[in-house]
């Protein structure tokens, strides 16, 4: 009873907030509704027993990705009227994408009804043991069966990270100036301040 109630609560909230994402007029409101949708999707994950994935969903999407999203959307100066003007121009493209999505949904539901996919017979040892927590089960899977894919994903992310650093890196002798942190830290009152005793009516000469 509790689970059923929780499922319908989360499911209704996911769908309702997803609808609000696309109908909200203010883009910031859209992002906030999107965050609510993420959060309730995490709730659904908890209900099916995938608590590790649920927590990662909240940490990665809600905690990091959506914050940056919100950050960007808040700083943009979006003119809703100008966007409305482009609506009719992009209408055919939108319809095409919607049709593709619809076709994929129908195909997906049809495929789901015909049964599970059979790409190979699972080994007995691959079946996750029910006693261990799903964090341990995911770890055991990732570091044994899918080790190559896992490492490949890691290398791709590393390359992306290095790329980002290269793009934003500023050479130490750049025209825009640079900071010598060590020099700032070493600075002490003796070299930064002077005590003067100005005479009345003359002020300080530096």
């Amino acid at each position: 009873m509790i689970q059923t109630f929780a499922f319908y609560l989360f499911a209704v909230l996911v769908i309702a907030s997803a609808v609000m994402v696309i109908t909200a007029r203010n883009p910031v409101h859209s992002v906030l509704w999107l965050i609510l949708a993420f959060f309730n999707a995490a709730g659904l994950m908890v209900l099916v027993g995938a608590e590790f994935i649920a927590m990662l969903l909240v940490i990665v999407y809600v905690g990091a990705v959506a914050v940056l999203f919100l950050f960007v959307v808040m700083m943009l100066d979006i003119d809703v009227a100008a966007m409305r003007a482009g609506f009719m121009k992009n209408f055919p493209l939108g319809i095409a994408i919607a049709l593709i999505l619809l076709a994929e949904l129908v195909l997906g539901i049809g495929a789901y009804r015909t049964g599970a996919i059979e790409l190979g017979t699972p080994l007995a040892s691959d079946a996750p043991a029910m006693v261990e927590s799903n964090t341990a089960a995911i770890g055991a899977m990732l570091y044994s069966k899918y080790i190559v894919l896992f490492e490949a994903a890691g290398i791709i992310l590393l390359v992306a990270m290095i790329g980002a650093i290269v793009l934003t890196h500023r050479p130490s002798k750049s025209k825009r100036g640079q900071q010598d942190i060590g020099k700032q830290v070493r600075r002490n009152p003796d070299e930064a301040t002077v005590m003067k005793q100005p005479t009345v009516g003359e002020g300080v000469e530096l």
Partner: protein
């Protein structure tokens, strides 16, 4: 607790419902009281360090000062700026406050005294603490005023930066404990140091990351020296400039509940939670309830928080970012490698090299 309500003649669903609500209230209401008292403690500690008296008028020793402040704030008028985005403006303090309370669901106060003893407790806390930035961003944006907006920008960049190093520090502790469950993490610290000392902080590999965690906790809760979000010399009062009355008080309560949460987290991760400091029974301190130890350790950390607040000047924003990304991130990553290497080399996980 569910069994108790079932014995009163309720069916399972109702008993569960009532027990959960009772559990939530049992944590949330004392927490609110603790926040009120801890604000008083905070002010008294600053006063003592500054050679002042601090609050000493309302009630004996000024103990009721926080309640007087609360009453004052409650009786004021809630002002909503006409240019504000009304819905989000009202929602922001509520989000801050709710999120600050949510994380307490998985904190074990004593052996078995926890509302939800879930497997991924530490990840849950990490997820919830990453949510707390939303209250600030929403407040800053909805105020439709430039200083709160700058403050919100600063807050989000700061919290994302320091969450990274907090995450890596948690990984170090998780590697030692072998579990995300907070109760398991505390129990793994029993007799950790030579079978005598309880607590990871006495481990020479974990002590440096404890220090980093403490500093990151200051940044994560936006306490001095990292309170750039409400730097009054630059940003008036930061994201809460436009807030008044109860909406302001909710920010305040949420902020202090977050600080207490960080204190509880340091207690659990590094100082052995509800366990007494030594695992030998020289003096009968195993008779002292675990809750007392837990709150005692939390109080010690809170004292350190106020101590820092009273003595350290504020950082500059670029220094703050540099510390987070160029010092703490590489250092915590290095410690993850070091700790996992050490654990593998010594056969902590059974597979000796």
């Amino acid at each position: 607790m569910t069994e108790f309500f079932q014995s009163l003649g309720m069916n399972y669903e109702w008993a569960w419902f009532v027990a959960t609500i009772a559990g939530i209230l049992l944590i949330a209401l004392p927490l609110m009281l603790a926040v009120a008292m801890i604000i008083y403690v905070d002010r008294k500690v600053w006063a003592a360090i500054n050679l002042r008296r601090g609050p000493n008028v309302v009630g004996p020793f000024g103990l009721l000062q926080s309640f007087a402040d609360g009453l004052k704030v409650f009786l004021q008028e809630t002002i909503i700026p006409s240019a504000a985005n009304k819905g989000i403006f009202i929602l922001a303090p509520i989000v801050t406050f709710t999120v600050a309370l949510m994380a307490w669901a998985v904190i074990p106060f004593d052996a078995g005294v926890v509302l939800a003893d879930i497997n991924v407790g530490l990840l849950y806390i990490f997820a919830i603490s990453s949510l707390s930035v939303y209250g600030i961003i929403m407040a800053g944006w909805a105020s439709n005023s430039k200083y709160p907006f700058f403050s919100a920008m600063r807050a989000s960049a700061q919290m994302i930066s320091y969450e990274v190093s907090i995450g890596f520090i948690m990984v170090g502790v998780i590697l030692y404990a072998g579990s995300f469950n907070l109760t398991d993490i505390v129990m793994a610290q029993k007799g950790h140091g030579l079978g005598i000392v309880n607590g990871y902080v006495f481990n020479i590999l974990l002590f440096p990351i404890f220090v980093m965690f403490f500093i990151s906790a200051l940044a994560e809760t936006q306490r001095v020296p990292f309170d750039l979000t409400e730097a009054e010399s630059e940003l008036v009062a930061g994201y809460q400039t436009e807030y008044s009355s109860m909406s302001f008080a909710l920010f305040w309560l949420g902020e202090y509940a977050n600080i207490l949460l960080m204190c509880a987290l340091m207690t659990i991760l590094f100082f052995g939670g509800w366990l007494p400091p030594l695992d030998i029974d020289l003096i009968p301190w195993f008779d002292i309830p675990g809750v007392i130890w837990f709150f005692g350790k939390m109080f010690m950390f809170f004292f350190m928080f106020s101590w820092v607040m009273a003595t350290v000047p504020r950082y500059r924003y670029d220094q703050l970012m540099r510390l987070g990304w160029k010092v703490f991130l590489p250092l915590s990553l290095f410690f993850v490698v070091l700790i996992s290497g050490w654990l593998m080399a010594t056969g902590h996980y059974g597979a000796a090299a």
